[in-house]
């Protein structure tokens, strides 16, 4: 671990208990994380030379946002969404498109390496115009789709939300991955038959399919000129946004809104009787969750030391399942639990990627393949996770921490003792 990250965490640890008494706790936290993030922006590349290690740290932050946002709907609201990757994909593609466009309008070119020279500072200055717009746009597009998906399906029985979110995520991924233009720039003979680009319905399909096929299909979107999406979000943005999201998630949980949501989860009829409108609260929480998912996807797409290509394969069902694992292992409804779950899952995923490429494993794998088996460590990891999750649900359905917030015991007690 690097000292900047530790400083960040210890700062949070010292600040939180005071913030319960201090009315300005939130503001102090924001300013504190702003400073930590600013220091990290300039020190992190110095302290950690290896960009793959920096990538792990940044991915942890992104996944924390993923887990925190999924926690709102899966943990606090007690619904079950299994298509969070769909919202991440929406955010990622939106952000990538916007960043690419704005980068071109700022003059284009490759982003300077992380040094203290003039070019770097100019790019850092530009990021203040580009990154907030891209992140906000990505999150808003995801939230809009969240509303479209959530409004009808949250009126139905709980399982239907699971199916619809899964279907939604798959439609998105497959549309981006498989849309190709055939004759007359249409996606099929049927569309061609109703008029192609010039007919009555044609133009709608035409614009849609031209746009979808411009996203690069299965290979992924790598900027307008194919040189890769300019990765503007340095450690400053990633750390600062993650801290903000954590603060918002914390505040949401202990707000009246969060309490209403938990009441709804415990007993829908009883809470309806005391004036909590189930559909409104469920849809709002779903939209917030989608917003967070879009934000995480956007951050993931433009994060420095990350992948400059936005690929549909990054947003498969496995991504959604990993997000669910983060929330469930940590404890559904717990903010700290979600963050710890994200750290745990990200670190194991990255470790396994490293180990899989080691020579010993490669040799063992090839010798096993001769016997008809395969040593796919990622498959083994997924199997173990699935086993752990089943065992957890059987033995301890509330997750490791349940709804508690470890490290923040004092606040929990005072808050829970307070009248609603």
């Amino acid at each position: 671990m690097d000292s900047a990250k530790q400083a960040d965490e210890s700062k949070k640890g010292h600040e939180k208990p005071r913030s319960a008494k201090d009315r300005f706790g939130g503001a102090i936290f924001v300013v504190g994380s702003l400073l930590v993030a600013l220091v990290a922006e300039f020190l992190l590349p110095r302290l950690i030379e290896d960009s793959s290690v920096r990538n792990i740290l940044m991915t942890i932050c992104c996944n924390a946002v993923v887990a925190l946002s999924l926690n709102v709907i899966n943990g606090m609201a007690g619904q079950f969404s299994i298509g969070h990757a769909g919202f991440m994909a929406l955010g990622a593609y939106t952000a990538a498109l916007i960043v690419s466009a704005m980068h071109t309008s700022f003059g284009g070119g490759t982003l300077p390496p992380t040094s203290f020279d003039h070019d770097y500072l100019v790019a850092f200055g530009h990021s203040f115009a580009i990154v907030p717009v891209a992140l906000l746009a990505g999150a808003l597009v995801a939230a809009l789709f969240g509303l479209l998906v959530g409004l009808p399906s949250l009126r139905l029985r709980g399982d239907y939300l699971a199916i619809v979110t899964l279907g939604f995520a798959e439609i998105l991924r497959l549309s981006v991955a498989t849309t190709r233009l055939g004759n007359d720039e249409t996606v099929g003979e049927a569309v061609h038959a109703i008029g192609g680009p010039n007919g009555f319905f044609g133009p709608v399909f035409h614009v849609g399919s031209v746009f979808l096929s411009s996203l690069g299909g299965k290979k992924g979107y790598s900027g307008p000129d194919g040189a890769g999406v300019p990765l503007y979000a340095g450690p400053f943005w990633v750390i600062f946004i993650t801290a903000l999201v954590a603060l918002v998630a914390w505040r949401l949980k202990f707000s009246g809104w969060g309490r209403a949501l938990r009441a709804l989860r415990e007993d829908e009829i009883a809470s309806e009787a005391v004036g909590v409108d189930p559909t409104r609260y469920k849809v709002t929480s779903f939209v917030i969750s989608a917003f967070g998912g879009g934000l995480a996807g956007a951050l993931y797409a433009i994060m420095r030391d990350g992948n400059p290509v936005v690929q549909p394969d990054s947003f498969t069902f496995q991504t959604s399942f990993d997000a669910i694992t983060m929330v469930i292992i940590g404890g559904s409804g717990s903010v700290t639990g979600a963050i710890l779950g994200a750290v745990f899952v990200t670190v194991t995923v990255k470790l396994i990627e490293l180990v899989q490429h080691a020579d010993v494993v490669q040799n063992l794998s090839s010798s096993l393949e001769a016997h008809g088996f395969s040593l796919d460590l990622n498959a083994l990891r997924m199997m173990i996770y699935a086993g752990v999750i089943i065992a957890l649900m059987v033995l301890r359905p509330e997750g490791v921490f349940g709804e508690r917030e470890p490290f923040f015991k004092k606040r929990m007690r005072t808050r829970e003792g307070a009248p609603a």
Binding site: I82, S374, M383
Partner: protein
């Protein structure tokens, strides 16, 4: 008009296989009110069991070999289905309906699905394994099997003691137990029947379409699941109807020259149906559920 006939026939053949798998989803949902996400992986396992059996009986008469392979694969998947039920669903039963416990069965179902898929990945490797080409024409076999199975299942559910127990369980589990029905045993047998139908569908599918591979359950299983929801999850004729509709839809989409994946219209249909008629085409709150 002649051109559209071929995709229609192919679609009905595809649809019958999808319907066989959809029945498993529907039966389990009828009894437990649980979406058994692991069912698609049981289908995948069934195709591997069938493949190994067919390889073992390679020298025999093709009809005999297929029949033996079907029986063995059905037996294998029944055991697997019972095991999944025993470890992932039974411990959760009778815990009441409070707070987070409502979504725990969905989580374990999902976990069981991921577990089986990755287990197959490890045991059988990710490569596609071709099925032997035993029959020049597989469609008569598919139609015959599907019709026989549907009639047999309808008879079991309507005419036998076990079917009565299943229907009782579906109406009210608590009351059924109080009336002396061994609910755990009935649920176990339901899983066994559903899983063996998945194996049957898997072997027919592979004889018709070709390869077995660990992720095959995702595509076909999802389509079967959509068929079950489309027809009205919990109803046997609904699963059949949903399967046929979906099979024909898939072939018509291909016929239209659509360049994208067939799963896109499949999911769009699913969401549209759920929005307009959440209980599915034949399902309703008062309909008799299996």
């Amino acid at each position: 008009m002649n051109g559209i006939l071929a995709p229609l026939v192919t679609g009905i053949a595809q649809g019958s296989m999808i319907a066989l798998i959809a029945l498993g989803y529907s039966m389990v949902y009828g009894v437990l009110k649980l979406i058994n996400f692991a069912h698609s992986e049981i289908f995948m396992m069934g195709s591997f069991f069938g493949l190994f059996a067919l390889q073992h009986f390679a020298g025999l008469n093709p009809v005999l070999a297929t029949a033996l392979a079907m029986i063995l694969a059905m037996f294998g998947t029944s055991l697997l289905g019972i095991t999944v039920e025993r470890f992932a669903y039974r411990p959760l039963r009778g815990r009441g309906k409070s707070s987070l416990l409502r979504i725990t069965p969905l989580v374990t179902a999902l976990g069981a699905s991921v577990f089986l898929q990755n287990l197959a990945q490890l045991l059988f490797t990710a490569r596609q394994r071709p099925y032997p080409r035993l029959f020049a024409q597989t469609r008569p076999l598919i139609f015959a099997t599907a019709v026989v199975v549907m009639i047999a299942l309808e008879l079991v559910v309507k005419r036998t003691w076990f079917g009565k127990a299943m229907r009782a369980l579906s109406t009210n589990e608590e009351a059924a137990r109080l009336m002396g029905i061994r609910t755990s045993r009935v649920i176990g047998i339901t899983f066994a029947i559903g899983s063996s139908l998945a194996a049957l569908g898997a072997i027919l599918y592979c004889l018709d379409q070709g390869d077995a591979y660990p992720t095959m359950g995702v595509g076909i299983g999802t389509r079967a699941f959509v068929a079950a929801v489309l027809g009205g999850i919990g109803s046997i004729p609904g699963a059949m109807l949903g399967g046929l509709l979906l099979g024909v839809l898939g072939e018509l989409v291909k016929f239209s020259g659509f360049e994208g994946s067939v799963d896109i219209p499949v999911f769009i249909v699913l969401i549209a149906v759920l929005l307009v008629r959440p209980a599915g085409l034949l399902g309703s709150t008062r309909a008799e559920k299996v």
